[in-house]
Amino acid sequence: MADAPKTKIEVGLAGKTTVMEVEIPAGDPPPYKVGERPVTGKRRPRLDGPQMVTGRAVYTHDARRPGMLHARILRSPHAHAKIVSIDASQAERMPGVIFENPGKDTVRYHGEAVLALAAPTRAAAEDALRAVKVVYDVLPHTVSLAAARKEGAPLVFQKPVEEKRSAGDVPGAAASVEQKGNVRGPKASGRGDVDKGFAEADGTLEVVTTTTVQTHVPLETHALFAEWVGETLEVQASTQGTFSVRDELAGVLKLPKDKVIVRAEFTGGGFGAKFGAGDYGVFAAKLAKKAGKPVLMALDRKEEHLAAGNRPDSWNRVKLGYKNDGTVTAVDYESFGSAGVATGTGTGGFVKSAYGFPAVRVAESDVFTHLGPGCAMRAPGHPQGCFAVETALETLADKLGMDPLALRLKNDPSEVRRAEWEIGAKEIGWSRRAEISKSNAAATAAGSPLRRGLGCAAAVWYTFVAPGSQVIVRIHRDGSVEAENGVQDIGGGVRTPIAMVVAEELGLPVARVNVKIGDSRYPFGPASGGSVTIGSLIPAVRAAAVHAREKLLAVAQKLLGVPAGEIALANGVFSAKGKSADFRKVCSRLPGETLVATGDRAKDYDGADTRIFGAQFAEVVVDVETGVVGVKKVVAVHDCGQPVWKTGVESQIRGGILQGISYALFEERVVDERSGRVLNPNVEFYKILGSKDTPEIVPILVDFYPGKNNAHARGIGEPATVPTAAAVANAVAHATGIRPTALPITPARILDALGTVPKREVKA
């Protein structure tokens, strides 16, 4: 086969681009050239914002039909128990109550589903739940990472467990590994010669960090509305994956894919927990079939905390080999984490990818506990791993007496990230650091309670692409334009960038493009996990729009009598050589009633780095008398390829930072060891950052051309939250001189580290 033709494109940071030869797949437009984007890349209001804030956007929780039923799930109050018997006779006598009992014999966590039922109202379903009598034989449980690792701990599973993966997990995470007791692992990975790296080191240091379980807490809890229309199952789902819900329902219910229709126009957040149909969704579909009526299953906040997923906790050991100039020569990294009854707790991704460490050895183990299943959560493993590695680097900087940023630059070969460190340092005022240290010392001398600190940390994520995305652009004879893809909007606002890309190619105002999403009858779109949505979808949108434009130009060529190649299309007007025709006029001459153009997501070009970088800086104030931490400012410098909709990208960054601060300071699932029950499955004592805890946030995007696809499109959802907690922790360390090694950084932990907490009872 002859070599495919190569095209020269400019890649890299604007102002420092280099030329790379790439093979552009047949039918795909060439990538945007540097500087060539009149519409995309700008800020603008969100197209569906008015619908959302006026309550006209219909979420799954809003689904209503005459005669519909409301479903609820009976959940285990025990961490581990045999189900001895279920007596539903009383509930069965209640009007309109139907059951779906999967016939489980064991429950392994507080909140595990035992059976589901549906009733004419939510209150009636609640009454019916309470009328079902379950006899449990309570078994011993283990609910902490440390206890579950010990020999003799009650076993969560008697047999080896295979890892289940969801669309939000890092590809390649699943593997068959050894399982002993409750520990599944270690899973080994890495690169370079670690032994050689340690042999060449001037010294070594080791830190251990821990993080706690974080739950996703989307505003809209998991929900699925199911309705059978003949033999077809029609579903509305609060999901991150229109098509993953369809595929799971088709698989479980043994239906062909064309007999399952899933709609997901608006989803109230997901953060990684909402990919499949879930047991709750399957219950809804089965109950709807049984009843012959539509069924809404919407979890309550307690169920959401207990059974709908979480970010696993972690224990991480980082051993660094280093040169006295701050260069890291080798890293030995070990992690244990518990996803409850699930797998996938590894935190080693960051240490392997974020910096230029020459040799890295990673061993990751899952530890089973009798707690609700963890699942993908915004940058799985990475905030944990970032906190571990950045804590180790700062500890090294302290040891060597180096500026922590200078130490990072010693170990960071990425041109993009080096630019980000520089921009961020300037914006936060990193040069004030020494002066701040001085005034902290003065405050200590004066007995004044407040200390200030600056900290930073690196982000890393990856360009994953969900293959198979396809977009249809339809143009009608009246000049109206539609763009179709089945992708869901999980809150990021994907309609707006789709419209912007189409508008740019067709020379139209953005609001003229009617974006139709969230329906499995439209062409395939990616599940929103792994920050893949924009990178997977936008090149297909652009291809479809370019193809539509080419077809319109052919019509315009006939109309204007000028070769298509010489016709310009801008501001709704086709023009060439003094002749012009407006958009509608050209459309009125379409050969068919509708012009249909499709665009496929072509495969990525080979060559460029697939990593997404980022650097964040935090400024904090710590009250050393109370241990209360306030974050004053976060500067977040990120690369996101060529952003399509800047407002949306900045909003994602802000959201990632808020979630990161909340993880750093507040969020903590509390479990009662004795009963194995979660004590705070609510948003009262599961603390989440609020408005008064929100700092000034400065998102800054570097102008970067990654050169992987026709739009230089990349995601931002995950990289934006990776470094925040670590940056806050490092700022706390600067402020107080105490190195936080456990998240969240609670007042109790700070006061304890400061030595102001009395060890035992205070004498009367």
């Binding site: 009454d127 007995g447 309670p449 009250d623 306030g630 004795r674 004590l679 609020g690 109790a748 205070v762």
Partner: protein
């Protein structure tokens, strides 16, 4: 929640009669103000009354009145935000306690009487899955369990903390709480309104079944100074980890009739009597405030996971004293 009958009385007397009638006929009945706290417990089946008697729309005891001698009477149905905005000059300690509670939405609805009568937030008490001492169980589960948000004083029987910030301020202000019941109402000193678990494990106040709070009275004191401060982990909607109210009279440049009350630290608003004694008759300055903060820890009995609250109690007492004297506490820059 269980279905219940909603009773809408036309007067307070009718409300009291309705509650008495329900009790007499063996039905369970609960009085409801705004219902912000009641709803939580109904949803968790922490409470499953047959009847809910709605006081919210009654047209009396819903405003703040000033009498001829300068005393203030706050109707039971006055919202927390109305207390905060209406009494900032008169009673800064109470205004600040109400101002910082819960969220703006809650403060705009929740009533002062409801705030005083709310049940504890202890997670063992609130969850229907636990049978704690307060619910007829055999032990306080918090004492040997997860007690990071629990009591560091007076926790021998049950380790709840009383959740009312307004109560802390009212005990410090030596307010009186007036009630209504079919047999005749009573007036309590605020400190006697709240009862310790040793007195009644099933309730946190001295109200009899069916008895209703109707007014909260605060007398005018010449030269009175007051302040309320709290320490929270989160600055948006969070329960305090420690809070305090301080009230004293300025006489000849020194503090008299000093009352220092600590909140979020005991099953009732907790008088820090050693600290009061230390401050009594002295001029408040930074050194005295710091000593008083330490003295406020006298008698503390922290549990396994809440000793961290002690430095917070010391800090909040120190800061509240300084605030009451109009002195800086070193945290101004942060606020």
């Amino acid at each position: 929640m269980k279905n219940f009958e909603r009773v809408q009385p036309r007067s307070w007397d009718e409300a009291a009669s309705a509650l008495a009638a329900a009790l007499k006929s063996g039905k369970s009945a609960e009085a409801k103000g705004a219902g912000t706290e009641l709803l939580d417990r109904l949803k968790e089946y922490n409470l499953a009354p047959d009847q809910v008697v709605d006081l919210r729309r009654l047209s009396s005891h819903n405003s703040i009145l000033r009498n001829s001698s300068g005393g203030i009477s706050i109707g039971a149905l006055v919202t927390l935000s109305a207390v905060a905005s209406g009494l900032r000059k008169d009673l800064p300690a109470l205004a600040d306690a109400c101002e910082g509670a819960a969220t703006p939405q809650i403060r705009n609805a929740a009533t002062l009487a409801g705030n005083l009568c709310q049940r504890p937030r202890c997670w063992y008490f609130r969850s229907s899955e636990f049978q704690c001492l307060k619910k007829g169980g055999v032990e306080c589960l918090a004492k040997s369990g997860e007690n990071e948000f629990h009591a560091v004083f007076g926790n021998n029987t049950c380790a709840i903390v009383h959740p009312s910030a307004a109560g802390v301020a009212l005990v410090a202000l030596n307010a009186r709480i007036e009630t209504l019941a079919p047999g005749g109402g009573r007036t309590f000193a605020a400190a006697d309104f709240f009862v310790r678990p040793e007195v009644d494990i099933f309730a946190e106040n001295a109200l009899k079944p069916g008895e209703l709070v109707v007014d909260i009275h605060v007398d005018r004191l010449e030269g009175v100074r007051s302040a309320y401060r709290k320490i929270k982990q989160k600055q948006a909607f969070d329960w305090p980890l420690a809070d305090a109210a301080v009230v004293w009279r300025e006489t000849g440049g020194v503090a008299r009739d000093v009352r220092i009350v600590i909140g979020s630290a005991a099953p009732v608003p907790w008088r820090a009597k050693a600290a009061e004694a230390l401050v009594e008759g002295k001029r408040i300055d930074a050194a005295l405030a710091a000593k008083a903060g330490e003295a406020a820890l006298e008698g503390a009995t922290p549990l396994g996971k809440n000793a961290y609250k002690l430095p917070m109690v010391a800090a909040v007492v120190r800061r509240t004293l300084l605030a009451s004297a109009g002195l800086p506490d070193g945290t101004e820059e942060h606020r």
